[in-house]
Amino acid sequence: MKNISNKIYSQLFKLSRACIVLLTVGYSLPTTAADYPEAGNFSNGSKVWADNCNRCHNMRGPKELKDDQWISTAFHMRLRAGLTGQETRDIITFLQASNTKTVVSGATQVSAVISKGSTGKETYEKTCIACHAGDGKGAFPGTPDFTSSDGVLSQSDSVLMDHIINGFQSEGSPMAMPPKGGNPNLSETDVSKVLGHIRKVFGR
């Protein structure tokens, strides 16, 4: 009888210990997440995407999945890469905004917060730098080296404007640049300014 009592006490002790842990977690953290899907930051999303995905595997372009598929994929990668919730939302925002939408109506899509600079330099730093890097040599495989003397900048402005505005896939690159670098808020004037900045800083 005493043994049975001891076992019951032991099990109750273990159970209460588990309850304390769960209650502590439950009360110290919100029980439900914030509004879903919550808008993230496009510029930060492009940076986090460029900084993290290539650490383990080849980059997956925004066009590879539909908008709703990117949500589950990003949450899966949140766990794999140790991303914060905000970084995850930022990446979803970037990928969805950069995605070429075959079905626009009704698609699960966050409202992107996409800022753009007033100068070519600012636009480059907010929209282009994640993939093309601060030194213009490309942040990961597949992005062209702007500093190469016979590289992409040897082409005319009209060709480059067309590539930036409509998107383009370089030869040998497994991933296409999305139209306007994924930032639909860019006007033709903005694109012209950022091209001027790229030529000025990286052109040979």
């Binding site: 953290l29 949450f75 009704g106």
Partner: protein, 407 residues
């Protein structure tokens, strides 16, 4: 004159009527056709509206269902042995997500054994509760967070080479998976980013083997997520990593707990039925400790990574298996470089695995060339130079071809 005028009027009237009647008839006919077309269009628009509404309803669900995964097929040519076409694995991953609150993740693993039988395993299954921006609770069977290879790099479309580093497969030095409760996430620390994982689990089991039917020796640590805790003591472990800059990650891992021999191998048929369970019953729990360290540095077209893991099993005072402890130790470093502006990539890996059994020890250099057809479809050619105990399979060099596809 009047007569001629009257006649002329009649002629005109007759002409007008003769022209108007067919036109009126034609107009009535066109109106009817038009009405028919409008009716058809109206029906189509109604049907489309209904379809669009249904599509819109489905595309905004709180619940998302998603399938990902990977598969690989290949060809293996050992220097001393028969060449074989192989199916590495087909590993679908299922995601069932409710908003940003919870997600069920599960990966199955299908492959074909040498005997042609299809083998199925549950690689992992967790319910992930996103409790805050910085913490997620995972419950179920999860990939071991020790190091990077098992949890992030083992999928064939991610791995730069067509084989795992020695010691990072089954019965190696690195734990594969475990069953329990895990908390993981990431948070900023000063100007750095960090990520972490801590867990409590059932822990691994041990198997022992005999060659002379007299003495059993520890054969391996089976850290593959058991559904029961047969030693009764929970295992605790985790990993903490910092990213001082975005292109560098450095991680440290640990596991501590207890493990017991639960399987005696190599066909020792007990003379008396039930004797084997008697042998097992006499085994006692041993200390189980793992330490690990890993790093990765990537920039532009190049990535350089490495990992070290050591598993130590303590001594036992009683039991059928020898009382001595044992150590499994493994490390690898890998450099991969992709030619700028091309789809070609080269990789080289050095690995070393030490176990209590000389026949398993190996020092390996692997050279590989990859053609990246697309970012998730890679053709790999690799050559393993293995230096192990003479005459053992661990000493056999191999050529491997692999097509890996991530989806």
């Amino acid at each position: 004159m009047q007569c001629s005028c009257y006649s002329f009027r009649r002629k005109i009237l007759a002409t007008v009527v003769s022209i108007s009647l067919p036109l009126m008839a034609s107009a009535e006919s066109s109106n009817a056709d038009l009405q028919t077309q409008i009716d058809v269009l109206q029906n189509q628009v109604t049907a489309l509206n209904s379809e669009v509404q249904q599509a819109a309803e489905w595309k905004n669900p709180n619940t998302l269902i998603h399938m990902a995964g990977y598969a690989d097929v290949g060809f293996i040519s050992p220097e001393n042995g028969n060449d074989s076409f192989v199916i590495g694995t087909f590993s679908p991953i299922f995601h069932f997500q409710y908003r940003d609150v919870v997600m069920l993740e599960s990966e199955l693993e299908f492959n074909i054994g040498e005997d042609g039988e299809t083998e199925v395993a549950l690689e992992y299954l967790t319910i992930d509760w996103f409790v805050s921006d910085y913490a997620t609770i995972l419950a179920g069977k999860f990939l071991s967070p020790v190091g990077q290879f098992r949890q992030n790099l083992h999928p064939s479309w991610v791995n730069k080479l067509p084989s795992a580093p020695p010691g990072f497969g089954h019965d190696g030095a690195a734990p594969i998976s475990d069953l329990g409760l895990q908390v993981r996430g990431g948070f900023p620390l000063g100007g750095m980013r960090t990520n972490y994982a801590v867990y409590a689990s059932n822990g691994p089991e041990l198997n022992s083997e005999t060659e002379d039917e007299l003495e059993f020796e520890l054969e391996g640590v089976r850290a593959e997520g058991f559904g029961a805790d047969r030693d009764g003591d929970k295992t605790f472990g985790g990993r903490f990593a910092i990213l001082p800059v975005s292109s560098v990650e450095i991680g440290l891992s640990f596991v501590t707990g207890q493990a017991t021999v639960t399987e005696l191998e190599n066909g020792v048929e007990p003379a008396t039925p039930g004797l084997e369970s008697g042998f097992i019953g006499s085994e006692t729990a041993r200390d189980y400790d793992v330490i690990g360290a890993d790093f990765v540095w990537f920039t532009g077209n190049m990535s350089f990574r490495g990992e070290y893991v050591k598993t130590e099993i303590g001594e036992a005072t009683t039991g059928t298996t020898t009382g001595e402890g044992a150590i499994w130790e493994s490390l690898y470093t890998q450099l991969a470089y992709r030619l700028p502006g091309s789809k070609w990539e080269g990789a080289i890996r050095y690995g070393d695995f030490d176990s209590p059994h000389n026949s398993q020890d190996v020092t390996q250099v692997m050279l590989g060339v990859n053609y990246i057809v697309s970012n998730n479809f890679i053709a790999k050619l690799g050559y393993e130079i293995n230096d192990g105990e003479t005459g053992s399979s661990a000493d056999d060099n191999r050529t491997l071809l692999q097509l890996a596809y991530g989806f």
